[in-house]
């Protein structure tokens, strides 16, 4: 491992941790509430179905990646679609990641205000989010992914602690009727809910930094989606069990509400502040990963040697984008539309279309994997 060169290489553990955190961080925001909104008592089924569908779609993207070993999604776009169409798609990808990361910054900042620091101005919280994020992204992908790998166990333990501490309030009857508001809305929302797993496309963007091949990339993606699906299902199920249906729609920060409800005797109560440590830490990692990936996408799109000169511009852009929505409700609404309703277009649909075009125009090496092994 003595590595005296400065090439950035990620192992599969780090990559998996990074993508898992990117996908899972939404559990700390309004995700369980959104599921309750779309599926009523069957919200958890939407998560499950969305996860399964995403798995299938990821296999398609993984097939595209294995046709172009060692190439990132941006390079693949250009080589399949040509220079100009590829550029358009890449810019679209960048704008999507930038916009969603900015929205996340806003939502996380609002969550901090909502839960811990009610009197702090949003701009100050935004800034305190941005400074460590800027620092981390300046240090690079290695620092972020390793931090993610180290943090995952702690974050899991923290989340699990909340879920288990809710045990006295679990009430399975709240999950009835099993199909919620009906089969058709369930199906429709399950299809839309694949956006919740759209962060898996980060794996396709970071391919050049991986020290493993496309086959393992596929496995990492499958593992991440499966693991996050299970985690989100558990959190949603517990949320729906603890908060009966109409009330479940009203919590702006469901996870915070859950940790607030904890009452294990007189001493262990009102522990929500302790869990601030866990979810704000996740927020830092999620935002850093978002900025890092948007920087990488932009760097590859513009074909420049370093990403660091882009950071000040990205930070300013993020800061102003995050402060654009007039209030929290508008931010949540925009987030719903951008990430939930149309997120899958950029992250799943376009790469799959490119895969089909690549198959049709016979771009890339269909037997790249076999050749390498042979």
């Amino acid at each position: 491992m003595i590595n005296l060169n400065r090439t950035v290489k990620l192992g599969y553990s780090e990559a998996a941790a990074l993508v898992m955190l990117m996908m899972g961080a939404k559990a700390y925001l309004g995700y369980p509430r959104m599921m309750a909104q779309f599926g009523a008592t069957a919200g958890w089924l939407i998560v499950l179905a969305g996860g399964v569908i995403s798995l299938g779609l990821w296999l398609g993207i993984a097939a595209l990646l294995s046709r172009f070993p060692g190439k990132s999604l941006m390079d693949i776009n250009v080589s399949v679609l040509g220079q100009y169409a590829g550029l358009v798609v890449n810019v679209l990808l960048f704008l999507y990641i930038m916009a969603t990361t900015s929205l996340l910054l806003r939502l996380f900042s609002e969550a901090v205000i909502l839960t811990a620091l009610p009197e702090v101005p949003i701009s100050a919280v935004n800034l305190l989010y941005l400074i460590p994020v800027f620092f981390a992204v300046h240090l690079g992908l290695e620092a972020i992914s390793r931090s993610a790998y180290i943090s995952v166990p702690f974050i899991l333990v923290g989340t699990l602690a909340v879920v288990l501490a809710m045990y006295p309030y679990w009430d399975a009857k709240q999950l009835l009727p099993l199909l919620g508001s009906g089969l058709w809305p369930l199906l429709k929302n399950s299809l839309l809910n694949i956006s919740a797993f759209s962060e898996v496309v980060a794996l396709a963007i970071l391919v050049p930094f991986f020290s493993f091949d496309a086959k393992i990339t596929k496995k990492v993606g499958v593992f991440c989606i499966a693991f996050v699906t299970v985690s989100l299902v558990i959190i949603t199920v517990v949320y729906l069990m603890v908060f009966p249906m109409p009330g479940a729609l009203e919590n702006l920060a469901p996870f915070y509400q859950m940790s607030r409800t904890i009452y294990l005797g007189r001493f262990f109560q009102r522990l929500e502040s302790v869990f601030i440590l866990f979810w704000t830490f996740t927020a830092f990692l999620r935002l850093s990963a978002g900025v890092m990936i948007s920087a990488v996408v932009l760097q590859r799109t513009l074909k420049i040697p370093y990403y660091r000169p882009l950071l000040p511009a990205l930070a300013v852009l993020m800061y102003s984008l995050a402060l654009t929505p007039a209030d929290l409700l508008q931010a949540v609404e925009v987030d719903n539309i951008l990430r939930h309703d149309y997120g899958w277009v950029v992250t799943f649909f376009i790469p799959l279309v490119i895969w089909i075009i690549a198959l049709w125009r016979k771009k890339g090496n269909a037997h790249a994997q076999e050749n390498r092994q042979g």
Binding site: M1, P132, E142, F281
Partner: protein, 613 residues
């Protein structure tokens, strides 16, 4: 101009521009290496040229001695004085380097008197005498009083030369030196040198030079012997179980302590000299055949690239070779225990010992190695793990307790049980300051007691304890300046910071604690998380000689069961992957031979169980 510089710095900080020079220091295989080589070859050829230039001059002076000899002396004189004025300059240094030992004893003596500024310099001794009892060959010895062993000089150098010699007829003048070396002088390390540079270097380090008339070379006998501290007990790394030896200030004793611990012919001790004005000896020790050669190469490259006046202590050397000088966490492990250094060598690390320092530097190191103590391995695994868990808790307490206290009392009062918050607010009732002022005041006072405790003369040391504990604690509380609960917080934090085994890293965490407290006072738990995140990313981005500081978990690599907790010793089959040693295996799968018979299947068939997986 200043504004321009600031602007440039700011731009560099915000954006990223690769600074070739700095990166070159960190990176392997960049240009500066070839430059060094070029420089080295150039100086070598220069030297040769100069020697060739001087040679005819010398023979000339020898043939017609009187007038030219004086001229030559004055010329040398010039060389030497120039050299003395600007020793730092490599070019001028060659003047002394290239001077050869003269055939004429008087010239030699005059040269040495110039070099050592005699008779101004009072501890330099030149003792003239006659050798060979049957003839009258003149000679003198040169040594520095105080760093040589008088007895050795008297018994092993002067006595045989003056009393016990009878020169056999066949010895030619030119071979006198050889003859003396082989037949007469008892010293166990005797070398023949013919340049002043070599001679002076040895004499400066306790050698005795013997100059003989009509010989263009001289003998240097190893007679080191100064008052040294005996091998003592470790001061900062004490253990209850385990050896109680510590390194001392003598390089040779330290290398010997390691040799004694590792009885292996593959252990290499490479010696280097750094510092232009004071050539300090540095030993680089490693186990060949085990250590990664590129690591040794990198260590040597860094040490040899140092161009400075004086490196007098391991702490100075550490700052010259570390990867990230501005980060809080150290990247070199420092130990005063030979047993610890030996165990690291056997892991495939490199130990650097510098003359005059009772500490050995160990590279590369990881954060987890910094958190271990040698006793962790001498104690049984369950006890060791208990202690290690205690230590991990101590780290978190040392970093975060004041911050948590400030955050909870300022922002998150709801999480404190009612009785406790009543107690806290009752205790704070009389305190006129906000919590943060109170905390900073007490933490600062505590740090002051600690610093004073280190600097205070031993005799009044006890007073500090009394003043600190009594005046600052008791009196501050009864005066209503701080709340009693805060005293508990500060005391626990202080205690925890003493439980961190590494001195440097405990410094790091002490400093970080203040930042966390400030963050907590401004943003509560959110501020603490921001601080933790910066600390973690900072540490994950750091490297120590190419090895990430947080390996083997950030990045994840293969490693035995010895990270935060440790497994039993027999389960540590492989050396850590991040060291990339030539031999990964520490012991076979079954290292306790006696458990074999218990594995029924193998015992019955009489087969040896498979040793490797």
């Amino acid at each position: 101009m200043a504004g321009d510089k600031m602007w440039k710095k700011a731009v560099n900080l915000l954006t990223f521009r690769e600074i070739k020079k700095r990166e070159g220091f960190i990176l392997y295989g960049v240009d500066d290496r070839t430059e060094n080589k070029k420089e080295a070859t150039e100086t070598a050829t220069d030297q040769r040229k100069r020697i060739h230039k001087k040679k005819p001059e010398k023979s000339h002076s020898n043939s017609n001695k009187k007038p030219n000899g004086i001229n030559k002396e004055s010329k040398n004189d010039q060389d030497i004085t120039v050299n003395k004025n600007t020793t730092g300059n490599k070019e001028e240094n060659n003047g002394l380097k290239n001077l050869l030992v003269d055939r004429d004893l008087a010239v030699n003596k005059a040269n040495l008197e110039k070099i050592y500024s005699l008779p101004k310099n009072k501890d330099i001794v030149i003792r003239e005498f006659m050798i060979f009892s049957d003839s009258s060959t003149k000679a003198f010895v040169l040594f520095i009083d105080g760093i040589c062993d008088r007895k050795t000089i008297n018994e092993n150098v002067l006595k045989p030369l003056m009393l016990l010699t009878g020169r056999s007829k066949e010895v030619h003048n030119a071979n006198i030196i050889e003859y003396i070396k082989e037949r007469i002088i008892y010293g166990n390390q005797v070398d023949i040198h013919n340049t002043y540079e070599d001679v002076i270097e040895k004499v400066n380090y306790g050698g005795t030079a013997v100059f003989v008339d009509k010989c263009s070379a001289c003998l240097v006998v190893e007679t080191k012997g100064w008052d040294r501290r005996p091998i003592g007990r470790p001061e900062t790394e004490q253990v209850i179980r385990g050896p109680h030896e510590a390194f001392n200030e003598t390089l040779r004793s330290n290398t010997a302590l390691l040799r004694k611990a590792i009885r292996n012919e593959n252990m290499i001790t490479e010696m280097f000299k750094i510092g232009v004005r004071n050539r300090t000896d540095i030993a680089v020790m490693y186990l060949e055949g085990l250590v990664n050669p590129s690591l040794v190469e990198e260590v040597k490259r860094r040490i040899n690239s140092i161009d400075t006046d004086y490196v007098g202590e391991s702490g100075i050397l550490e700052q010259f070779i570390e990867d990230h000088p501005f980060m809080a966490v150290p990247q070199v492990l420092v130990t005063e225990r030979p047993d610890r250094a030996a165990s690291f060598i056997l892991d495939g690390k490199v130990v650097i010992i510098i003359d005059g320092s009772p500490n050995a530097l160990i590279v590369p190191t990881t954060f987890f190695a910094l958190m271990h103590t040698p006793e962790d391995y001498y104690l049984r695994a369950p006890y060791a793990n208990f202690v290690r868990l205690l230590r991990v808790t101590a780290i978190f307490i040392a970093i975060m307790t004041p911050g948590l206290y400030v955050a909870v009392t300022t922002f998150h009062q709801e999480m404190i049980p009612t009785d406790l918050i009543l107690a806290i607010s009752a205790a704070r009732e009389t305190v006129p300051f906000p919590t943060i002022v109170e905390v900073f005041m007490m933490e600062f006072a505590f740090e002051m007691i600690r610093e004073a405790g280190v600097r205070v003369p031993g005799v009044i040391g006890n007073t500090i304890g009394i003043v600190g504990a009594l005046i600052l604690g008791q009196a501050a509380v009864s005066a209503g300046i701080v709340s009693p609960i805060l005293i508990i917080v500060v005391a626990v934090t202080g205690l925890a910071s003493f439980a961190i085994p590494n001195y440097s890293i405990s410094f790091a965490f002490r400093g970080v604690r203040f930042i966390f407290t400030a963050l907590a006072a401004t943003f509560g738990f959110f501020g603490i998380t921001a601080g933790l995140y910066i600390l973690l990313t900072m540490m994950t981005s750091m490297k120590s000689f190419g090895v990430p500081l947080l390996s083997p978990i950030g990045p994840r690599t293969k490693a035995g069961p010895d990270i935060v907790l440790r497994g039993p010793l027999w389960s540590m089959e492989e050396r850590p992957d991040f060291l990339d040693t030539l031999d990964r295996k520490r012991q076979p799968k079954i290292s306790r031979g006696w458990v074999k018979p218990l594995m029924g299947k193998f015992a019955e068939s009489g087969d040896k169980p498979e040793q490797d997986s």
